[in-house]
Amino acid sequence: MEFRYLPMTETDKKEMLKTIGADSTDALFSDIPSKVRFVGDLNLKKPANEAELKKELTNLANKNANLKEYSSFLGAGVYDHFIPSVVDHVISRSEFYTAYTPYQPEISQGELQAIFEFQTMISELTGMPVANSSMYDGGTALAEAVNLSAATTKRKKILVSKTVHPESRAVIDSYAKGPNLEIVEIDQVNGLTDLKQLADELDENTASVVIQYPNFFGQIEPLNEVKELIDQQKKTMFIVSSNPLALGYLTPPGEFGADIVVGDTQVFGIPAQFGGPHCGYFATTTKLMRKVPGRLVGQTTDEDGQRGFVLTLQAREQHIRRDKATSNICSNQALNALASSVAMSSIGKHGLKKMAMLNMQKARYMKQKLSESNFEIITQDAFFNELVVKVTGPVSDYNEKLLKKGFIGGYDLEQAYPELHGHMLIAVTEIRTKEEIDTFVKELGDING
């Protein structure tokens, strides 16, 4: 069998073994105790040639209903936005995608500068002075923010609104077990955080309050009121998770006094790809700069005074500080951060607001249409591009029927909120047309009967 990724010839092998002074390559494995030496062949599918494999995988891909062929109104943290062609052309440059972490700045200025630009864009969007080079995703970024707040305040109690993405809350719960944090969930009332309960729970042991903006239901949490409550407790930190696209229209969390702002830049140039890889971002105040998890790129000069970029403040990180590091993250999401940078550059300063508003406009059109068809709309207050509608049976039944009509329906809220039976969370992005919305509402109405 020939393997196109393996260039050594038999002649090469012989020469090399001679240099090494070994009879066979097997001799190089003699340090493996014979008791655990694996014999025989791994029982895997037979190797496939390139053409055959492409066909096989294309067939597998075709078994999936994809967002290009179906009109999707599914969001809930992962969105179907337009991806400009330039994005894939840039990230397909193999100088980017076949490189690793830019440890050698002299030959990695491209990646370093791209990250520096990403940090700047995130800082601009969130209204925070410092942003890192990326985290795995929005959910783990949020969990790291929670752990950072506990380490900084030396407190254990965390208040997390139930309007935060349910999977992010699940990840927070997992990460909180290490440092033994006490996670207290704050209920939602009409799709917004119950501020009264929040006020009751906030005390001198509270490390941080976690709010999502826009929240999981698409609604706009009153960050100003939350901040006022937090300010009654010294040191308690304000953590906000934000869809960065919404920040094209909404006042950024930084202006409301957030200490840490996190989220996912999937909305900018990253396909849904079944939930990953996406790209977490992590932005903070200057005060927390030396505690930020992950890589940071800083500007400096070389020996000739030329501007350049380096990985910096590495004393926070695992490879220097080991068990005292602020996080264990090593590999991050660099290539996806690059994709988002390209998408943000493409959308640009004015395009961003326009794109955010297009999402909002279309979502309101959806709301109006649903309302005209006598659906009960749950979302009443200010919202971004998602809204909640009540249907008369299990949402999964609706989605099954919608799929047959060419639609991917909304998220079944009952999965995460048992009290919300028959509640569908519908996302409308800029690429959904009037016609798609009209037809979707009509189909939904037909199913409703």
Partner: protein, 485 residues
Amino acid sequence: MANQDFPLIFERSKEGRTSYSLPELDIPEFDLEDEFEDTFIRKTAPELPEVSELEIMRHYTGLSRRNYGVDSGFYPLGSCTMKYNPKINEDVARLDGFSHIHPYQDPKSVQGAMEMMYDLQESLKEITGMNEVSLQPAAGAQGEWTGLMMIRAFHEANGDFNRTKVIVPDSAHGTNPASATVAGFDAVTVKSNEKGLVDLEDLRRVVDNDTAALMLTNPNTLGLFETEILEMAEIVHEAGGKLYYDGANLNAIMGYARPGDMGFDVVHLNLHKTFTGPHGGGGPGSGPVGVSKELTPYLPKPLLIKNDDMYVFDYDRPESIGRVKPYYGNFGINLRAYTYIRTMGGEGLKKVSEYAVLNANYMMRKLEKEYDLPFPQHCKHEFVLSGKRQKKLGVRTLDIAKRLLDFGYHPPTIYFPLNVEEALMVEPTETESKETLDGFIETMLEISDEAKNDPETVQDAPHNTIVKRMDETTAARKPILRYNK
């Protein structure tokens, strides 16, 4: 003000330029400002660049030319397995049916994706000899933490709350002790002996009934197989501890040995290393975990299983440690790894390890003539040299690395592992030809000559790169982490 020979994207920006192509509003307009309290409406637009589409391409193409990847040249960065990234992987990852599917679609509408994931799990089970695999962890470090959380859950389920220690060799990667801390353990170091292997005496000394686990990288970060691994396993298991296998170095042993057969309870793999997920300039990665039967109940949820002919996500796992990441892991990277495994098969993967080890040993024997080799036995997929001799001449390992840049190479990993002075960690990988290895060897020998005869050339390197050595001290002392107009 520093010279700026390559502008930032913000410096290319000009008011009024655009590169976006948004749809027109095809519906009646709503008054948004009516709906929002004024405080929530953003007053100053974020300063994103305003550039044309061509300017974007020129900018990023320019940046790419100021970067260096495996496709640019030899990249023997130890511990990182910088092997070739197959192009078919990139193509299939971009198929609409894989790249444009939503994690919350009805599982019935994404059976193809789930079948791929299931097959990958099965393949990884076979390769590692473990009982079950979860693809959820996003990277190696997250796999480590996931594994330790499962071990913690296991001990706690046995009413064993006093196991506070995780033992980590001094040669371990930094993520090992860091993950132990994040999982709520105290990391305790075990020393290496003069052979570069874990010192069994020291291991016996540190292991006791507080021991939750031993985290072992094998082959270790010196590129050496831990020959006494079975004795180590016994020591730890006898004390009631669990064995964690950092599988970042699996490239050395595929088809030759399996963590499961060596008695390990948890293993993580780095699919972005061994299994060709591209490194992406730092990520994204994927760090699946495999577990023994005993630890299977604690795997993150949901677990992808097969029920009759349907693939389903099983959430009904009461003993699970919960979720470690939203959705189902880095699917796009897992897909690339799967494509690679299907390309190679069992026979091919074994050859991968065979050649990875052959290449490393060949280079090691050629280079030991001029560079100090602290551990002379056969290595596995990588080896660690010491720049001790050159240091005596005033040339440090950092200088050698910088000098390599002048010859068009990416340098090896330097100053890691920490238990070797002036370390140079070389991992050639199996995808490099003998000619490439010979070229690099020749250059290394030439640099060694320079160190003797013309040390300044090495000390002042690099000479040919677009920028010279960077002032990292100022960067850290007065951090500039974003562009300001």
